[in-house]
Symmetry: C2
């Protein structure tokens, strides 16, 4: 049992990725935690009230540790009006948006969620999109909460460690969904795990967790061989029975292959990997002109919601990683965890 597993008394070195947008709910997270891996709630798009409801619910379903993931606000100011106008004209239903969440409101939301994590003594809190602010880090650490940061390069991972993270999740280029990259880089900040894990493991003192493209025991063993202490799995949990992902999203993952995904900013303004669909194809030439997160995200919200209601994959965000060729049937969390940890893993 390594340091990461010891922290949570895990029997499996697996984290279920905190997939926001309604995919991850207490049912999925508790099923994972009850099997000896670390389940996750994703608070990113939840109001504090809804998060509190989910926390209460998960405590009914499991006594085992779980984590809550929080988006760190980027604090980017409103883009120029003409850019907003252009996108409002281009994105279906975007003209319904009358105002955006202010930076202050984003931070209020963030701190209300931190307060809930403290109030309910949640065992672990993970951060995505940026370094968490020092005051939140201090409060959570004082309360004994284990802190998990997300990094896509060694430089980012080192900053996360310096900020007080107890564990750093390394997001490989293979990973589906939003990228956690927060530093400018000279080249591509999306680095394959085969290269990223050993370079980060050598540089950091805290345990690193590998995220991206792994779907079975071979990936888990390879990541541990490369120096990770655990593996974070997204797409493979997304298609589980217990996951609340949209049936069309699940179906698209079951059908898709490894070269069907790409990184796009067209849905949210922040780079994320998803299965290419009509919205991405039709707007490819505008990839570099999207509004920064969360503005683009706010404008595409009604379009995505309508697409969900109509089971229309053309305008949904079909987040998925590069391991999806091997995902061909919906199984249970228990079955998946058995595939991931088929035999004893020596660590």
């Amino acid at each position: 049992m390594n340091e990461f597993m010891k922290k949570f008394s895990l029997t499996k070195p697996i984290i279920q990725a905190p997939m926001a947008g309604g995919i991850t709910k207490p049912r999925l997270a508790s099923a994972v935690s009850n099997q000896g891996a670390l389940g996750s709630l994703a608070s990113g798009y939840l109001t504090p009230d809804l998060l509190e409801q989910q926390i209460k619910e998960i405590f009914e379903l499991t006594d085992a540790p779980f984590q809550i993931n929080v988006f760190v606000p980027l604090g980017l100011e409103m883009p120029p009006k003409d850019q907003i106008k252009k996108w409002k004209e281009n994105i279906p239903l975007a003209n319904q948006v009358n105002q955006f969440t202010s930076v202050q409101e984003e931070w209020d939301d963030f701190y209300q969620k931190i307060d809930l994590i403290l109030k309910y003594k949640v065992k672990a809190c993970s951060f995505t999109f940026d370094l968490p602010p020092e005051d939140a880090v201090k409060e959570l650490k004082t309360a004994g909460c284990c802190l998990i940061g997300t990094a896509s390069t060694v430089e980012e991972a080192l900053l996360m460690e310096e900020r007080g993270m107890d564990i750093v999740v390394l997001q490989g280029s293979e990973a589906g969904g939003h990228r956690g990259a927060f530093l400018p880089s000279k080249g591509e900040s999306a680095v394959g795990l085969m290269a990223l894990i050993p370079q980060a493991a050598d540089a950091l003192s805290v345990p690193v967790i590998a995220a991206g493209g792994m779907i079975d025991h071979r990936g888990v063993k390879a990541a541990l061989t490369l120096g990770a202490q655990g593996v974070q799995i997204g797409s493979a949990f997304l298609i589980c029975h217990e996951s609340n992902a949209h049936p069309v999203h699940k179906q698209k993952i079951l059908e898709a292959n490894e070269a069907d995904t790409k990184l796009t900013t067209l849905f949210s303004g922040k780079e994320a990997r998803g299965i290419v669909n009509k919205w991405m194809e039709e707007n490819e030439q505008f990839e570099t002109q999207t509004l920064p997160y969360p503005y683009q995200n706010t404008l595409t919200k009604a379009m995505r919601q309508k697409a969900s209601l109509q089971n229309n994959h053309d305008q949904m965000s079909l987040w998925a990683g590069q391991g999806i060729r091997s995902l061909t049937e919906e199984i249970s969390v228990k079955q998946l965890l058995n595939q991931l940890c088929q035999e004893d893993i020596k660590i």
Copy 2:
């Protein structure tokens, strides 16, 4: 000893990547082969005469098997004159180019190289850029030459197997230098090895070799765990004493980190991963407008040659993979192979 190692009586499951452009010469390839791994000559930018010279030379230096890599011509017709004119105006010294190699000349060059491989009974021939033509495959196989194809997706790997390849090299997104992708894909055809290896190993019957971002024994072990029978290493051999790479290229790799590289078409017209430099930065907005290979390559040749002569990294192609943070000193091929196969690898 697995099937791949048996084919060449190797003691180490390692291929030295065939890096064209003067990096890989008989000295490097023979040093690798003499240590029980598979050395490679890169015929891509050599004339048949120069290739023959290198073949004679390597036979003086080793009795062990080695391979020769051949570029498969893409056969793309000349781009429109106005596009050529635009690039001639933009690329330093490009106005020296009066004519391009014709598609027929490219094929003549290809078949002359195949004839040399047959004449000298070279043990293995690898192909990059496309499926090799059926007549060449047939001739080489009849002569007992082991054929190695390059693929970046499972679909490409399956086509390579179908075409008669005995081994398929899976080029992960981590890999430096030119991408071997040859099929259009819905999303990104650059897939991380962590996802690519198991998906391809499950689909293919012939041995697969992993290429990209690996620099030490952890990467080798992880690749074998994922289902590869061997590992192809580029950047780490490029900086070896025995490599003929430009000293500035070596130095840049020794200094660079994992997020300093990106895929670019600006040097050759074909996507390749290299350390970001001034030429790439200044022309970033033209990435999607480059001429197809080999036309862009022909136009940048004089610029690159002058940059090499002047030790000017701003206009050289600094090909490198994503594992380069860990490469910090020039070592010998023997030292590198000991790092890659530190202990016995059970396969």
